[in-house]
Amino acid sequence: MKVHLRNPRRELELDGKFSVNSLLAHLELPRESHLVIRNGTLVPGDAALAPDDTVEIRPVISGGC
């Protein structure tokens, strides 16, 4: 599975079975501050991810005051 991350931008190739929640937990990313987009579509925490999926993990926290 191809995983795109931001801040900083980087790309990972992961093997194994993941749901959205287990992928975030695997990468130690808090669910409250990230969204997961699978093949261009937003998906909820219990969505299963397939090996041929392209996944973007998008951070949602801004630091401006």
């Binding site: 808090p30 669910r31 409250e32 501050s33 998906v43 925490g45 299963a48 999926d53 951070p59 926290i61």
Partner: protein
């Protein structure tokens, strides 16, 4: 085809987002409906806007300001946008393009101001010249220019995209210091008074995660990358702390901030000294101030006297600390 287990609470179609604080999942259509309902509730409860208002939305090119502009237009408000080019290197160039593209694609009116070409300085230089954190110089500059543009343009309300996470983080910081002055002024509506437009925050009932999701579902391209000058600021640390609590106890952020507004803000009403201070006029620009020169003119004066500082220089100094 990969199965998605969770279903929309409303229609039972496959969900696109889980919202633990509502103990529910939603499909795209009903998620958008939830967001519209939350914004409408905030607007009505705090008497933020009417359909007769001429609204100016402060737009950064990020998710919150584009989402609130999109929602207000969709809900039938007359809303123009205001973008300020802060001169934060490539970050400002890219953010400005997102704001311009959003407006052009929807036929909306966007006012743009460029700090360097119109006022002779930028935020990295102001941060260096004033020896203050970049967010301080940035906030001072933006607030002044938002107010001025709203008043000069005849707008009746200035809207900002501050969301529930922003407000909860500011409240957290003010509470840690028991800063009664700031606590008593932390309201979602600031009424117009001499030299200041009415200012409102329609997104106070929606989280950052929900606003990012709004943009994704609505097909709004926004600048995802973080402002390089905000990295490591206290505001981000407070948000991380609140999100750690939220993950253990969903709904805590909303309870913390919205119950503050219901239960604590009324007790603090009238405690703000700044709100009742007699204001004079800045001898340089005429803006309201308690000094001879307003904070914006003091910042601009120091920054203009300083040679331009590239953003990289301020960042590398920040990392050495």
């Amino acid at each position: 085809m990969v199965a998605t287990a969770s279903k929309c609470r409303v229609c039972k179609e496959p969900a696109i987002i889980d919202l633990p604080r509502h103990n529910a999942n939603f499909c795209a259509e009903h998620f958008l409906e939830l967001c519209r309902r939350q914004v409408t509730k905030a607007i009505e409860k705090f008497d933020m806007l009417s359909k007769d208002d001429r609204v100016l939305v402060a737009v950064s090119g990020g998710k919150d300001s584009l989402a609130v502009w999109d929602m207000l237009v969709e809900l039938g408000y007359q809303a123009d946008g205001l973008y300020i080019g802060l001169g934060i290197g490539e970050y400002s160039d890219v953010s400005g393009q997102y704001a311009k593209d959003f407006a052009a694609e929807r036929g909306l009116h966007l006012i743009t101001i460029d700090l360097r070409s119109e006022y002779g300085y930028d935020i990295p230089t102001a941060a260096k010249a004033t020896r203050r954190v970049p967010c301080s110089a940035c906030g001072t500059s933006k607030r002044h220019l938002f107010d001025k543009a709203a008043l000069d343009g005849g707008y009746t309300v200035l809207v900002t995209g501050h969301n529930l996470d922003d407000e909860a983080a500011v409240l957290f910081g003010n509470t840690l210091r028991w800063d009664v002055e700031y606590l008593s002024r932390q309201l979602p509506v600031l009424p117009a008074r001499h030299g200041f437009p009415k200012k409102v925050k329609p997104l106070i009932r929606l989280t950052e995660r929900e606003m990012a999701a709004w943009c994704i579902v609505r097909g709004i391209d926004y600048l995802v990358d973080e402002c390089p000058m905000a990295v490591g600021n206290k505001h981000l640390a407070y948000k991380a702390a609140l999100n750690a609590i939220e993950s253990e106890s969903p709904g805590s952020k909303a309870a913390f901030y919205l119950n503050f507004l219901d239960n604590m803000a009324p007790l603090l009403a009238g405690q703000s000294k700044a709100a009742t201070d007699e204001l004079g006029s800045c001898t340089s620009c005429g803006a309201p101030t308690t000094s001879d020169l307003c904070a914006f003119c003091r910042t601009a004066q120091k920054a203009r006297a300083h040679e331009p500082v590239p953003v990289e220089l301020v960042l590398s100094k920040g990392r050495r600390r």
